[in-house]
């Protein structure tokens, strides 16, 4: 059990983090006080052409010098600084320093790639997260940033003063820790350049899915579902060119017996997807919210073992674990629905 919340403004109108904090706090019962996090798109307009790397440095290691050198070898650091934080007595103690780089990768270093900058970023994230002691990249996209720590949603929000950030698309997560240690980098959201993911649930096919995604050069270092899901979406959408609805169908495919009842063309498509992406299909109970700069999507597992409520109000699309969270931010919400299992909700930002 975790609490997840997402809001997107279709016309890119900005929302500061205070409403998102309030909505997530509404679901404190869904968490255990050991982790929470926020991710927002649109927060760094002054560096919108740079990749914003949010990195957690463990003060016991000298990870920063190593990361600095790696970044300088793969591109240009336009600016870097400590992420402003404000001590909160109730956060789980740590010696982590959240740092941010605004970085321009050198595309000539990934020859032959259709998206060389993102390939450079992907490789850097894998190398840092698996090979640099005391350094973890928690987000790496343009004009986006992840803010997370071990604690209750309000304390994490206050630690970063989340109300000081303005974004047009936010995801938030309140963690009920089950089987991972409560390190600061563990809670959702997880981000890799464009894509961010929060999840309520447990992907029981984690091992199969991880072996699959690691065969494409990704390395799962956090052992969290959201890390895995982020990489699978990046593979399917960016590298394989699937539309997001097909990617979600590959991850949460219809049951075989339901496919057999579909019209022939649709059945053929679904069979092909299941055969091609059998190892990307995720079992277990989950609701996933994912976002990139242009969209927010939500979907549940096929058996609908986790809740997902969708709200709409004007230009805003909300997806949350509970209706009360949506109403905490938008008391006058115009419509509330609960989509069917496996049926993706896809909200797109106007171009």
């Amino acid at each position: 059990m975790c609490g997840i919340f997402g809001v997107m403004d279709r016309r890119r109108q900005m929302m500061d983090g205070s409403g998102i904090r309030q909505a997530l706090s509404m679901m404190n019962e869904r968490g255990s006080g050991e982790g929470a996090g926020y991710v927002a798109y649109g927060i760094y307009p002054e560096y919108q052409d740079c990749y914003a790397l949010h990195v957690f440095f463990d003060n016991a290691h000298d990870g920063r010098a190593v990361v600095d050198a790696m970044l300088e070898a793969w591109g240009t650091i336009e600016h870097d600084e400590a992420i402003p934080t404000y001590d909160q007595p109730n956060l789980r103690a740590t010696c982590t320093t959240p740092w941010r780089y605004f970085f321009v990768p050198d595309p000539s270093l990934a020859p032959g790639s259709a998206s060389p900058e993102r390939d450079v970023i992907t490789n850097l994230v894998m190398q840092i997260n698996t090979g640099v002691p005391g350094a973890q990249v928690v987000s790496s996209g343009m004009n986006v940033g992840v803010f997370k720590a071990s604690g209750w949603p309000e304390d994490v929000a206050n630690f970063y003063r989340i109300e000081d950030y303005e974004g047009y698309l936010w995801l938030a997560h309140n963690r009920y820790t089950t089987n991972n240690p409560g390190r600061w980098e563990q809670p959702d959201p997880f981000n890799l350049h464009d894509w961010s993911v929060v999840e309520n649930g447990k992907v029981t096919s984690y091992g199969t899915n991880r072996r699959y995604i690691e065969s494409f050069g990704y390395t799962c270092s956090l052992e969290t579902d959201s890390e895995l899901i982020t990489y699978v979406i990046d593979l399917l959408v960016r590298r394989h060119g699937l539309d997001i609805d097909l990617a979600i169908r590959a991850i949460a495919p219809p049951y075989w017996k339901d496919i057999d009842m579909m019209p022939e063309a649709e059945a053929d498509l679904n069979r092909a997807l299941r055969l091609a992406y059998g190892s990307a299909a995720m079992n277990g109970p989950y609701t996933v919210l994912a976002a990139n700069p242009d969209m927010m999507v939500g979907f549940t597992d096929r058996g609908k073992l986790r809740p997902m409520v969708v709200g709409e109000c004007g230009d805003r699309l909300y997806i949350a674990s509970e209706e009360a969270a949506i109403r905490a931010m938008e008391p006058g919400v115009e419509s509330i629905t609960m989509p069917a299992a496996g049926e993706p909700v896809i909200g797109r930002v106007a171009p």
Partner: protein, 245 residues
């Protein structure tokens, strides 16, 4: 102490809220109105007596859990599992409810005006005179009556939007009665359709009449409508799956 009481629950945690409701009943209140409810779980949990609690807002999960006796009326939607293991009393929801409505319910009545989520009536049960009732005015979702062990579950599907699959998955007691026809493919293995007899219709008529009365509906067309009755195909649907004999 007055017989009626109003509580403002805005920004209140469910623990003090439930304490106030319980204290009011202990002091003799028979009507409690709770305003500004938003997301508070467990409202009326374990509550006993014959009072009426009116909830204005959207309560959180496990409304009326273990409740024994009172009536709870909700003007808004309910979240997951209202009536969880409820013992007796009544819950009337003027709106929709989330997944696992009437989870393990063992007695009493739940009326939901609109729709319910997945796994409605999961593991409802009955014993001697204890026979829980869940009536849904709108549609129910997949795995309706999952592992159902007893009780009566009626879905009226008034807007004809029902698209549930796997109905009665693992059902081994009780009955699911759905207005209109139900496709064979929507039934789970272990569940079977039987005709609704005149005796069955006479048995559910008072329940439908009471439901219609709560929501201002004309009961007669509903009583006389066509229904599909779904019951267990066997008392041990998984006898051959999990055991060797």
């Amino acid at each position: 102490m007055a017989k009626s009481l109003t509580i403002d629950a805005k920004d209140m945690h469910y623990t003090p809220l439930n304490q106030q409701i319980r204290e009011a009943l202990a002091n003799g209140a028979r009507e409690v109105t709770v305003n500004g409810v938003l997301g508070q779980r467990f409202i009326g949990s374990g509550l006993q007596g014959d009072a009426t609690i009116t909830i204005n807002g959207v309560p959180g999960g496990d409304l009326a859990m273990f409740m024994s006796g009172p009536t709870i009326i909700v003007h808004g939607n309910a979240d997951h599992a209202p009536g969880n293991t409820m013992d007796s009393g009544k819950v009337v929801i003027h709106g929709s409810a989330g997944d696992a409505v009437a989870h393990s319910m063992r007695g009493g009545t739940i009326f939901v005006r609109d729709n319910i989520g997945y796994r409605g009536g999961i593991h409802m049960k009955q014993y001697e005179e204890k026979r829980p009732i869940l009536v849904v005015g709108g549609a129910a979702r997949t795995f309706l009556g999952e592992y159902m062990a007893g009780g009566l579950l009626i879905v009226l599907d008034l807007n004809e939007t029902m698209d549930a699959r796997g109905i009665g998955s693992g059902i081994h007691g009780g009955e699911i009665i759905i207005r209109g026809d139900v496709d064979d493919a929507s039934l789970a293995s272990g569940a079977k359709k039987v005709p609704l007899t005149d005796e069955d219709r006479a048995r559910i008529a008072p329940v439908i009449r009471e439901f219609a009365g709560e929501f201002g509906l004309d009961p007669e067309p509903l009583i006389n409508a066509d229904y599909t009755r779904i019951v267990p195909a066997s008392a041990r649907p998984f006898a051959g799956k999990y055991t060797w004999e």
